[in-house]
């Protein structure tokens, strides 16, 4: 009897560990839907174990076979994330893009021979600008890391609404077609040229600008599509 209980506990433990790994991918999804989905999967795994035990397998074998049949937790988790937490993926993308913008400003105002020699305003502003930008950069890193915490789905929705407000701003509506590709090519060529001549900061700035320009429109469209839907 004791051994049966141990086996049942072990099975339960294995199932919970597996579901825990899956739920790790579902940050930012509605907790009720996540709980329902995990409960369905729990029932599925238990039923599978019971069936295999009835067929003569040991409890330990049955657990391993059930989990194996279910497939890798990372694959299941990622697939579920696209269905249950797609918004949070775009929130993360948006936050990462905003972070890249802060990094860009940080790079511009960082003390470089080019900036301090040629621009007295930038040189005068550096003592307070750099600490302020550093704080903003740290704040944005924290926001990016915490934007889709599992316990704050309301926060995710709030983030989406704030992005919607931001994205109405016409500065995000970049030109399309030939001009878009021309601008991207220009930025990348300048960036590569700067890196080639060891002007690393300006080179990184140009490449960050190109990445931001290329992806922000896609991210904005996806977020706006999600919000309006």
């Amino acid at each position: 009897m004791g051994r049966q209980i141990d086996a049942a506990d072990l099975a339960e433990q294995h199932v919970e560990q597996y579901l825990g790994r899956v739920s790790g991918y579902l940050h930012g999804a509605d907790p009720q839907i996540v709980n329902e989905t995990l409960e369905e999967m729990r029932l599925h795994l238990r039923a599978c174990c019971e069936e295999l035990v009835h067929r003569g397998y040991s409890a330990d074998q049955a657990i391993r076979m059930s989990v194996q049949r279910f497939g890798s937790s990372s694959k299941v988790g990622r697939s579920l994330a696209w269905q249950l937490a797609a918004d949070s993926i775009f929130v993360k993308l948006y936050c990462a893009l905003t972070l890249s913008r802060y990094v860009k400003f940080f790079v511009i105002f960082w003390r470089t021979p080019m900036a301090s020699d040629s621009d007295p305003v930038v040189t005068a502003a550096q003592p307070w600008l750099i600490p302020a930008l550093t704080l903003m950069l740290l704040w944005q890193i924290i926001t990016t890391l915490t934007a889709t915490r599992p316990r704050s789905p309301a926060r995710v929705q709030q983030n989406i609404l704030s992005m919607q407000r931001d994205l109405i701003n016409p500065k995000y509506l970049n030109p399309t077609g030939f001009l878009r590709y021309l601008y991207l090519t220009f930025l990348l060529l300048i960036g590569i040229e700067c890196l080639h001549h060891h002007i690393y900061r300006l080179g990184i700035l140009c490449i960050l600008e190109a990445i931001e320009f290329a992806f922000i429109r896609t991210a904005a469209n996806r977020i706006l599509g999600r919000v309006s839907a």
Partner: protein, 115 residues
């Protein structure tokens, strides 16, 4: 390779719709029914069933409700909607055309040879 992956994903949804086309069912029973009907030839990762079910539900092809069972715990039972019936018919027709095309290439005579 990408096309193969997409085909597999699409196939899972078609198989689910086909099973639910006969009767409402829950996740575990759907997996077993696919295995039974294919004589164990189609053994997908059963975990893939749930993202596919969520996708079908989001599209409005199936609906779900928790139902008490005569024995055992409550189960989430999925039912094909009217929209889903239309989608099933469309996917069946598309699959038939695809398999006929593949069969005609595999089973057809080499180019330039006629019987």
């Amino acid at each position: 390779m990408k096309e193969q992956h997409e085909l597999k994903k699409g196939s899972t949804q078609t198989l689910i719709l086909a099973v639910l086309g006969d009767a409402p069912s829950h996740g575990y029973a759907i997996a077993r029914e696919i295995e039974r009907r294919s004589a164990s030839a189609l053994k997908m990762g059963e975990g893939a069933l749930y993202p596919a079910l969520r996708a079908l539900e989001n599209e409005g092809f199936i609906s779900s409700a928790w139902e008490l069972q005569l024995s055992g715990p409550a189960r989430k039972v999925y039912t094909l909607t009217e929209k889903g019936q239309g989608e099933l018919a469309r996917q069946k027709s598309a699959w038939q055309k695809f398999s006929e095309a593949v069969n005609s290439v595999i089973g057809g005579a080499p180019h330039g040879q006629t019987n």
